[in-house]
Symmetry: C2
């Protein structure tokens, strides 16, 4: 398969999604042309995934890789309270991975997720790479003007909420590093289920698109961020941008039950993983007391939990654990670089 065949295949696949009034021109020109509605603001994010830094070829399938690349960016758009609408995927592929099967499966993973949210793939770039697979996922979303939910609007007195459960993705990463594989046969059924669940959380994260939309459309949150680096790091980011402090209640943190189920036999500390483990891609947001009653209990089956309160900046960022109160330090996923947009 050469570059032209590849682009032709990809274009046919995109066109099979049917026409879209807002895509004036998709794949096949120098750039894509899209038409946001009048009065809309545009939300744009890019996320780089590099082999042996962000994933290993031995532990993720091409399909899950395509899914994960897109999921990470969808999570960012959800964290802005916006609707993801268009995506581009830039991929660099080394010779030993360049095959019709590999590329088809990678795009299949991305398309499956994109179709679920009616997101159109409008472009990207494909390049040979010397040895490591590289993906840059770019997602564009939109929202009514002035409605994007930033990190910077939290006020003392607001309540702090998080969607879903925490710690699973980090537990999955630890198990992968110890040789666990998705879909492997295991003796004990409840243990097998728990392992499978945390491996899925790591390899096939579910962006909280539905929650992001509800929060944005109803303007329920004063500030929001997605938990990609870990609750501690991302709470710190939110508090920094909002110039506030926070007090969270350790007992309220929704620790992933599968992580708890795996404790004992393995060196996994559920609270540590929930506090500092990255890549859960849940949404962390703050809600003014007057709006708390409007918050739905679940969106797309995903619950939400109140885990603390926003305080003045001078109080710092603290955790109450029973009668103890201690200062929370960022201990999440600290890679070399970092997200800057």
């Amino acid at each position: 398969m050469n570059e032209f065949e590849f682009i032709r295949r990809l274009r046919a696949q995109v066109e099979s999604q049917g026409p879209s009034a807002q895509v004036v021109r998709g794949i096949g020109d120098d750039a894509a042309v899209i038409k946001p509605g009048d009065g809309r603001e545009l939300v744009v994010t890019a996320d780089l995934l590099i082999e042996d830094i962000d994933f290993r070829r031995a532990t993720i399938t091409p399909e899950l890789l395509g899914h994960k690349a897109l999921a990470v960016s969808l999570s960012d758009v959800a964290a802005m309270g916006s609707e993801p609408r268009w995506a581009m995927l830039s991929i660099g592929i080394p010779s030993d991975a360049w095959s019709v099967d590999f590329i088809d499966q990678l795009y299949e993973g991305a398309f499956k997720l994109a179709n679920r949210y009616r997101i159109r793939l409008v472009g990207g770039d494909t390049s040979r790479a010397p040895d490591k697979i590289v993906l840059d996922s770019i997602v564009l979303g939109d929202c009514a003007a002035g409605r994007a939910v930033l990190r910077s609007g939290a006020k003392p007195g607001d309540f702090l909420y998080v969607t879903g459960e925490l710690g699973g993705a980090a537990a999955g990463l630890r198990l992968l590093k110890r040789g666990a594989k998705l879909g492997a046969k295991r003796g004990n059924q409840s243990e097998a289920q728990a392992m499978e669940k945390v491996l899925q959380r790591q390899l096939s994260p579910e962006p909280r698109v539905g929650w992001g939309l509800v929060i944005g459309q109803e303007q329920l949150a004063s500030a929001m961020i997605d938990i990609s680096d870990g609750l501690s790091s991302d709470l710190l980011h939110l508090c920094e941008e909002s110039h506030v402090g926070a007090l969270i209640d350790a007992a309220k943190i929704p620790i992933d039950e599968s992580v708890v189920a795996l404790v004992g036999r393995r060196a996994l500390d559920p609270l540590q993983l929930a506090l500092h483990g990255g890549e859960d891609f849940e949404l962390l947001f703050t809600v003014a007391p007057t709006k708390v009653s409007k918050l739905p209990k679940r969106v797309d089956g995903v619950p939400v939990t109140r885990i603390g309160t926003i305080e003045p900046a001078a109080k710092g960022i603290r955790v109450a654990e029973g009668s103890l109160i201690w200062e929370l330090e960022a201990g999440g996923f600290q890679h070399f670089g970092g997200k800057n947009g």
Copy 2:
């Protein structure tokens, strides 16, 4: 420098560009928020540059690399007849290149070019990379609705034009492969100038932003593409999308004078380089006979040359060289993957 220091530095640099009414939120949130004007269409492109595929660390400076990454995407937006307005840069950097100097210089190159066209850097992603530098440059532009110039509008009878001169970037690449360096001392002054010029064309390409704007605003072209893969390949793309053929006059092709000046001593065939050499980042476009008189002679000092005519598809894509007429085959830069948007 860790990720937070890095993002803080970058943000300060962006904020020193002054406020922008259309950037609601730049670097420092989950995603950027921008506000295109009502009735505008958005043009988006992404270009991946990977070390040892698209450039070599030994022959390009970090500043030129930052410039080139952005320039390649600006050229795509120009080729849509649109105004580039916002940019994101995703960079993966291996440990041995991770230094304040390297990153500052890389961004300096990108910022210098961005500032020239008042483009705002609104985000991106930064990641560690195992061994090779990776850059994905994302540029967003806009134009009045329905005004984007596609590859698909050329009609038989239209004239074919190209901006600037061709062949320089490919000659520069050949010289780099033979050990030439930018700024090296050379004996013969005219030869030194010619070498410097073609090396610059390869390492520091100038996107034809001004031409793209004029063509888009005045709706002068029926179809347009930028010459990234080479005149032959890109003419083929334009003709395929427009379902037309073309006849070009070899004698009219504006061959880079510096390439001609270097002929004789080196194995460089100027016409071959001009026809098939990639990365000149000039614009190739078609103009209906009724609009030819409106075409400016120069934009930003860059001339334009009529090199042929669009014909019915059945006639194929041909070159007239004196009394000979031969079929043009795509022979441009054929890397492994390819641009798909």
